[in-house]
């Protein structure tokens, strides 16, 4: 065999077993379709039910009020921030700066917001959910810069929103996790603002999709490498998996993670994202930083949304809430 012939195909490694309840929930659904092109990928994600709660549900029985504020980005765009404030006047309050999911191409500030509000409610916190511009219409670096701009605005508005600037926790889910981590790196490198902690839930960190788990979970994780490659391509275009991607745009590429706020990384053992999430926590420890890593046994990407009733999902949310109380010294 010569050195430039392709490697012999190896059998895909077997995935870890799925959690029974999460797997059973998946079993009731029609099989996943593969993506043929960018347009189909985008329309399928944007057309799917994103389980947004109604405004009435988000009010949490009157304990929260919703409103919108706007901040102006460096490029002149009017960035919307959805703010959920506790009705009580117990000031100043902690805040959760939330970056929603959607594979970089879909979702709104209300996507997954109810779960984040439930966490905030326990600590009497404000939630600021940023309406970052979506790819592919708004490619990198717009989404991560919007996320950074929203973070800055949250600190600037601390006084009128009754937020304690020492207790702002960034929360990012999936694509939003990648954006939150990226914005935290920008904040570190630009000298501020400094969040108290960073919660990364099943984060999308690395455009190269070249980890062991990315290969292992093909056709197993509903968000497998197939979908992941499309999402990164929507964000980065031809630069995806190439040499010119910044660390803020793909935080999984960053090797020096010193100087970040303390981090919670949550990921399932049956996720495409497992190994890049584990590596991220590992690098924080190597830099002497504080990180908590939770790898949920048998969880695929989004198990806590597909099977919210399952024992695994219940434990997952309980652990997240517990971490939040700890970092806010509640």
């Amino acid at each position: 065999m010569t050195s430039d012939s392709p490697p012999l195909p190896t059998r895909r490694p077997v995935a870890p077993p799925l959690d029974p309840e999460a797997s059973a929930a998946l079993a009731t659904q029609p099989p996943r379709q593969h993506t043929e092109d960018m347009a189909t990928f985008v329309s399928r994600l944007r057309g799917a039910d994103s389980f947004e709660a109604s405004d009435e549900e988000l009010a949490l029985g009157g304990r929260y009020r919703l409103r919108e504020v706007t901040t102006t980005c460096p490029d002149g765009h009017a960035l919307r921030l959805l703010v959920a404030e506790p009705a009580s006047i117990d000031w100043p309050r902690p805040a959760l700066y939330y970056v929603h999911t959607g594979g970089m191409v879909s979702g709104t500030p209300k996507t997954g917001l109810l779960d984040v509000l439930t966490m905030a409610d326990e600590v009497g916190g404000v939630v600021v959910s940023v309406d970052y511009r979506l790819a592919p219409e708004n490619p990198d670096p717009t989404p991560v810069e919007d996320t950074y701009a929203g973070l800055c605005a949250t600190f600037e508005l601390a006084a009128p929103l009754g937020i304690d600037p020492e207790r702002v926790v960034m929360v990012g889910a999936s694509a939003g996790g990648g954006l939150a981590a990226g914005a935290a790196l920008l904040a570190r490198d630009r000298g501020g603002p400094v969040a108290a902690a960073l919660m990364l839930l099943n984060p999308m960190l690395d455009d190269r999709s070249d980890t062991f788990s990315a290969e292992q979970m093909v056709d197993v994780d509903p968000w497998d490498r197939d979908a992941n490659v499309w999402a990164w391509r929507a964000l980065l275009g031809d630069r995806a998996a190439g040499a010119e991607v910044s660390e803020a745009s793909a935080p999984g590429r960053a090797t020096d993670l010193a100087g970040l706020p303390q981090v919670l990384v949550c990921v399932g053992s049956v996720e495409t994202f497992r190994d890049e999430s584990v590596r991220f926590a590992q690098r924080i420890w190597e830099a002497g930083g504080a990180a908590e890593l939770r790898v949920w046994p048998g969880g695929f990407h989004g198990y806590e949304f597909v099977a919210p009733h399952s024992r695994l999902a219940q434990e997952t949310w309980a652990a997240r809430r517990s971490w939040l109380r700890r970092v806010l010294a509640e």
């Binding site: 029974p20 059973a24 998946l26 009731t28 990407h301 597909v306 999902a313």
Partner: protein
């Protein structure tokens, strides 16, 4: 991104979603889910609280439709939908009045099947409720059952590995193993026997030697009596009280010389002579004076003296003398053993 899969919620019976129940429970079983997961599936898919009642569970296993576990003591309500296994050992309730719609019916049917499968896998072959405890005691007292099986039976009976026990062998019933905290003078025995029960009570042993206590308890049972006027004697015999006599009892069946001794035939013949003989012999053997024997028999002591004179002629020995009483006690004990030989 999680939008690529749908969220599992309560199934809509009007939208023909009942069939989605099947792959749900099939996959739970494929992935070796536990009982709580099965009950959770029933609650979530139907949208009503579900509870599982099985033998040996103090509280029902109950799950709410949002997935939270919440065992309670209240209920069940007769109006609720319910299915059970053929022997009634497994009962599944959906806390919603019937009649069952298509989703509820499918969920209960598949749920019951799943519970049975999981239960069999985790508790061994399923048995009817009544038999189960008796079987465990049988295994625990069986010298031919392996140590592992006996340890397993002990654990299922709630006995700790270092537990001290006595075995109680009731007449006509199964031997049972009773945990004890031994006291001086065997006062703990009071906790083991059921009032009025006729039984032999074995010695205190560590639980892994329960078969030995059972063997001795069975011997002690042979020495009990109905305790009536016609057949007087103790209904409960505790091995501790027998002393070395347990050794005699243990070797009786294998030793023809014991049962062939002429004293046994003599006492049997005397008993056939008159109705008062068995009671009088028992009273004399178990009391230490003429006066207390007469009191036990509720006769005038002169009546008793006349009877004793007759007995001396029948038996050819004086049952009132010291060695005569001992000789009578031995004969009566050997008679009881002979009468209960297999």
């Amino acid at each position: 991104m999680h939008q690529l899969a749908g969220r599992l919620t309560a199934l809509d019976p009007d939208a023909g979603e009942a069939l989605r129940v099947i792959p749900y429970f099939d996959e739970l079983l494929n992935q070796r889910a536990g009982l709580e997961s099965v009950v959770r599936g029933i609650a979530v898919l139907s949208g009503a609280p579900a509870r599982l009642i099985t033998e040996g569970r103090r509280l029902p296993l109950r799950v709410l439709p949002d997935g939270r576990r919440d065992d309670v003591v209240t209920g069940p309500d007769d109006a609720w939908q319910q299915v059970s296994s053929a022997d009634g050992g497994i009962v599944l309730c959906l806390e919603r009045p019937g009649p069952s719609g298509p989703v509820d019916a499918m969920v209960l049917e598949r749920g019951l099947q799943a519970v049975r499968t999981v239960h069999e896998r985790t508790h061994g072959r399923y048995r009817a409720p009544g038999d189960r405890a008796g079987e465990l005691h049988e295994v625990l007292t069986d010298p031919d059952a392996g140590a592992v099986s006996r340890a397993h039976a002990a654990r299922q009976l709630g006995l700790a590995t270092d537990q001290l026990v006595r075995v109680v062998c009731p007449l006509g019933g199964t031997a049972r193993v009773v945990a004890v905290v031994p006291t001086m003078a065997g006062a703990d025995v009071a906790a083991t026997a059921v009032p009025g029960e006729r039984c032999g009570v074995g010695p205190v042993v560590p639980v892994e030697r329960a078969p030995e206590s059972a063997r001795d308890a069975r011997l002690a049972l042979r020495l009990t009596a109905p305790g009536t006027a016609a057949e007087p004697g103790s209904r409960v015999v505790v091995v501790d009280d027998l002393g070395a006599a347990i050794a005699i009892a243990a070797s009786f069946d294998a030793t023809p010389a014991w049962r062939e001794h002429p004293d046994l035939a003599a006492v049997r013949a005397a008993a056939a002579h008159a109705a008062w003989v068995p009671g009088t012999l028992s009273a004399v053997a178990s009391t230490d004076s003429l006066r207390s024997a007469a009191a036990a028999l509720v006769v005038h002591h002169s009546t008793l003296q006349k009877r004793l004179a007759t007995l001396e002629k029948l038996l050819a020995w004086d049952v009132l003398s010291t060695h005569g009483r001992f000789r009578l006690q031995v004969a009566l004990m050997l008679l009881r053993l002979d009468d209960t030989r297999d």
